[in-house]
């Protein structure tokens, strides 16, 4: 992300030298204008611009890009579609064009990860980018991903998206408990930590939100935690939730374990004082049981 030392020195050239360099470069470009710039460089640069949320410039850069090697056309179309989705102001025309471009990648039958990602993004457009979302079609595409590419990241993440849609949006004519059970039996293929983590977190939330089964929610929360936490967005909230849920279910050993871990790693959190009280309460109860024995 940061320029290396030699790049910094380049930036600080004397102005005269810089002017001459620019002149030579401009002349060279003029002479070589018929030769397309390298695809890999432009794609990388477009992604760099996208990372800076400059989708318009990224998309403009990709627009005139000609494919050179096999697979270039699909990679360019994929990047064009994705950056087009980010260009503001958003319009139905842009969304449709992006959908069409992803479709071209899908229809090409290209091998590698780009194909499932293109299917995934068609599902994303149907679900989250259209003014009138088509949730059923999105779900259908997530299902096709799970069937066709179960080991790939987009399929595993797509399964989580499918779970969210089935739990809160789609009306399947069966109870939420039945949907939860079905998702549990269909989840065995998940093995990528980020997808596993989000699947278990989604399931735990649904069990709690519909007030269906707190014990199952606890199991899912613990499994989500076991996949590791991205400390940038979770500084222990998940540990505290496990402790709190276990406390309410009178699962004292679990509550103690997670409360201790949370307090140790988050001594300044606003909930620590209350959790310390609860921990003392559990430990005191333990001690009195030992005394009675």
């Amino acid at each position: 992300m940061f320029p290396a030392d030699h790049e910094i020195h380049c930036l600080s050239e004397p102005d005269g030298r810089r002017f001459l360099t620019s002149l030579v470069l401009a002349l060279s470009l003029a002479i070589l204008s018929g030769v397309p710039e390298t695809r890999a460089d432009s794609l990388d640069e477009a992604w760099t611009l996208a990372r800076k949320l400059n989708f318009s410039a990224a998309n403009a850069m990709l627009d005139g890009l000609e494919p050179v090697a096999t697979g270039d056309r699909e990679r360019i179309n994929f990047a064009r579609a994705l950056t087009l989705l980010g260009v503001q102001p958003r319009s139905a025309r842009k969304v449709e064009e992006a959908y069409r471009l992803f479709g071209k990648v899908v229809d090409s039958g290209i091998s590698g990860e780009i194909l499932p990602w293109a299917i995934y993004y068609r599902a994303r457009i149907d679900q989250a980018h259209r003014a009138d979302p088509d949730f059923a079609r999105a779900a259908e595409q997530y299902r096709s991903l799970v069937q066709g590419f179960p080991a790939q990241v987009p399929a595993q993440v797509g399964f989580v998206k499918l779970a969210i849609l089935r739990l809160y949006v789609l009306q399947e004519g069966v109870s939420r408990a039945a949907v939860l059970a079905d998702l549990e039996s269909a989840s065995a293929f998940l093995n990528i930590p980020v997808a596993l983590r989000d699947y278990h977190a989604t399931m735990a939330d649904a069990y709690l939100f519909y007030d269906l089964d707190k014990e199952k929610a606890l199991v899912h929360l613990i499994k989500a935690h076991e996949q590791g936490s991205l400390t940038i967005i979770d500084t222990g909230g998940q540990m505290a939730r496990i402790g709190n849920l276990a406390y309410h279910l009178k699962r004292w050993d679990i509550a103690k374990q997670y409360y201790r871990e949370f307090i140790e790693t988050n001594p300044d959190a606003g909930t620590v004082y209350l959790l310390r009280e609860r921990l003392t309460e559990i430990e005191t109860a333990d001690a009195s049981i030992v005394d009675r024995q």
Partner: protein
């Protein structure tokens, strides 16, 4: 014939004018050279020049930052650090023009009101990838080996440093900020009598307010117990309602995180399901306490700006005033009397028979009060030096130095607050707050539209609740819908970002790729869960 003195005077005048012009041109040329040199290279001689800009113009603040900069330069003789204090009045315009012109300094004090997300993403360095490693400048201190993120008061999760839409940290704090009550010690001694102890509890506070009014009337010079203003008044009400509804957390906290966030729908879900209403005794009690506090302030205080309230206090026309700790130094300096710190606005205790039924105790203050954060410009000519200076400035030793000179509260864990300011320290022995009623903009607007009913001398809680109740459900819905729409926009943007990070192989980018997926799933779960109840 013209007198000689006139001719001499004319040549002297020409000479002076010429000298003046030459001096002006030299100064102009030197300044131009310096500016051109700075803008183009960031290097003077063999030294790298680093600039940092902020809007705090108080002498001690500037001196504090200067001392930190000097300490850095002493350790790194190849670096020159320049401080750029810019008045807050022109700050928004100044930042915008610097961003547009590509001349933004290497480090900039950040506030989301002044720098939009698009600029943040384009012009500043995401810091999340660096926060997992220890800060090397903490070696030999109690924070040696501790990941940088965990070296701050709190965990930075609730503050303005983390941007939910961009899913990363973009600024790190150099101070902590807390709202505290200040009082005029001399006036207090006259009102309460010699040797009297300042009030600690809510009841004592109300009693002191009564005494203050009586004293003012007896003197023929009205004295306001508490100098209020629009924003501090809202803060005070927010704190009271949150503190007096703590006991409602258990029944509304469906996901067991001990936090009633309006974005995740807790107040709305509970209100819709009939789990709480404005007529619940805890809510009524909270409104009664708000009314009681409101009556200790001057009429119309909710239309006043804070400057007016501070002026009332400094003139001796008010006994107490709520002030943020970062403004405390100014208040003390400007006052012609001895100023004391009372602490947080007193809250009713749990055992208080009239007000305490919903209270569990003090409301804990987490890490969301850290302030004066700096962001690193991605256009910096020396980004590695800028990041290193940020590490240095937020180290244990340097935050100790800055705290000592600026008299601000420390942002770094374990750094002692300035002497005599222990009352600003975060409240750790406390419980999570309750219903965040006034955090919701539509609910707040409805609350304020009918506030006159609650605050009128002949008004009261019942009339206020009846009026607010009619608007409560639409307001809750409007706030939640607005929050969901913002999340939907963030979700769409995240979709466009995920492959951009997946396309590169660096560990920081990989971490961000995963983080974006996790955060998006978290937001998507929330959006569809909320919509399933809203629609």
């Amino acid at each position: 014939m013209r007198p000689l003195w006139t001719a001499n005077s004319m040549s002297l005048k020409k000479l002076v004018n010429g000298l003046g012009l030459a001096l002006l041109l030299t100064a102009f040329a030197l300044s131009l050279g310096k500016i051109v040199n700075r803008v183009h290279t960031g290097i003077v001689g063999n030294q790298k020049v680093l600039r940092f800009a902020h809007w705090r113009l108080e002498g001690p603040t500037i001196a504090g930052y200067e001392a930190v900069a000097k300490a850095y330069m002493a350790r790194h003789p190849d670096v020159i650090i320049e401080q750029m204090p810019i008045p807050l009045r022109v700050w928004p315009m100044w930042v915008r023009s610097q961003l547009t012109g590509g001349t933004i300094p290497d480090l900039v004090m950040y506030h989301r009101y002044f720098i939009e997300d698009a600029n943040l993403a384009r012009d500043f360095v995401p810091l999340g990838a660096y926060l997992g490693d220890p800060n090397p400048y903490n070696q030999g201190t109690p924070l040696e080996g501790v990941p940088w993120r965990l070296t701050f008061v709190g965990d930075l999760s609730g503050g303005r440093q983390f941007n939910d839409n961009l899913v990363d940290f973009f600024a790190l704090p150099t101070s902590r900020n807390s709202l505290r009550l200040f009082y005029n010690r001399e006036l207090f001694a006259k009102i309460a009598g010699p040797g009297a102890v300042p009030p600690r509890g809510f009841r004592e506070f109300l009693a002191l307010a009564e005494k203050t009014r009586a004293y003012g009337e007896a003197q023929g010079f009205p004295i306001i117990p508490l100098a209020g203003s629009k924003d501090r008044g809202a803060q005070a009400m927010r704190g009271l309602i949150s503190g007096l509804t703590q006991s409602m957390v258990e029944k509304l906290d469906w996901n067991h995180d001990l936090s009633l966030g309006y974005v995740k729908g807790d107040p709305f879900f509970g209100y819709k399901a009939g789990l709480w209403s404005l007529r619940d005794p805890e809510i009524r009690t909270a409104f009664s306490a708000v009314r009681a506090i409101d009556l200790t302030q001057s009429r119309g205080h909710m239309q006043r700006m804070q400057d007016e309230a501070t002026f009332q206090f400094l003139q001796g026309r008010a006994l107490m005033v709520p002030v943020y700790s970062i403004d405390a130094e100014n208040l003390v300096r400007l006052a012609t009397f001895d100023v004391g710190v009372l602490g947080k606005l007193p809250q009713p205790r749990p055992r208080d028979p009239e007000y305490g039924m919903g209270s569990l105790g003090a409301v804990a203050e987490g890490g969301d009060k850290v302030d004066l954060p700096f962001a690193v410009s991605s256009h910096s000519k020396h980004p590695e030096v800028a990041l290193d200076f940020l590490r240095f400035a937020t180290s244990f030793q340097m935050n100790t130095l800055f705290t000592k000179i600026s008299h601000y509260q420390p942002a770094v864990d374990g750094v002692a607050p300035p002497a005599g300011q222990e009352g600003f320290a975060p409240v750790r022995e406390g419980y999570p707050g309750g219903i965040p009623l006034l955090d919701m903009s539509s609910v707040y607007a409805a609350f304020m539209a009918h506030f006159h009913l609650l605050s009128a001398w002949d008004g009261g809680v019942d009339a206020f609740i009846s009026a607010l109740e009619e608007e409560m459900m639409p307001a809750l819905r409007a706030d939640l819908r607005k929050a969901v729409e913002q999340q939907k926009f963030a979700i769409q943007r995240t979709d466009c970002l995920i492959p951009a990070y997946g396309s590169v192989s660096g560990s920081a980018e990989k971490l961000r790729f995963q983080t974006l997926i996790v955060k998006q799933n978290e937001q998507e779960n929330n959006v569809y869960r909320v919509l399933s109840e809203l629609d």
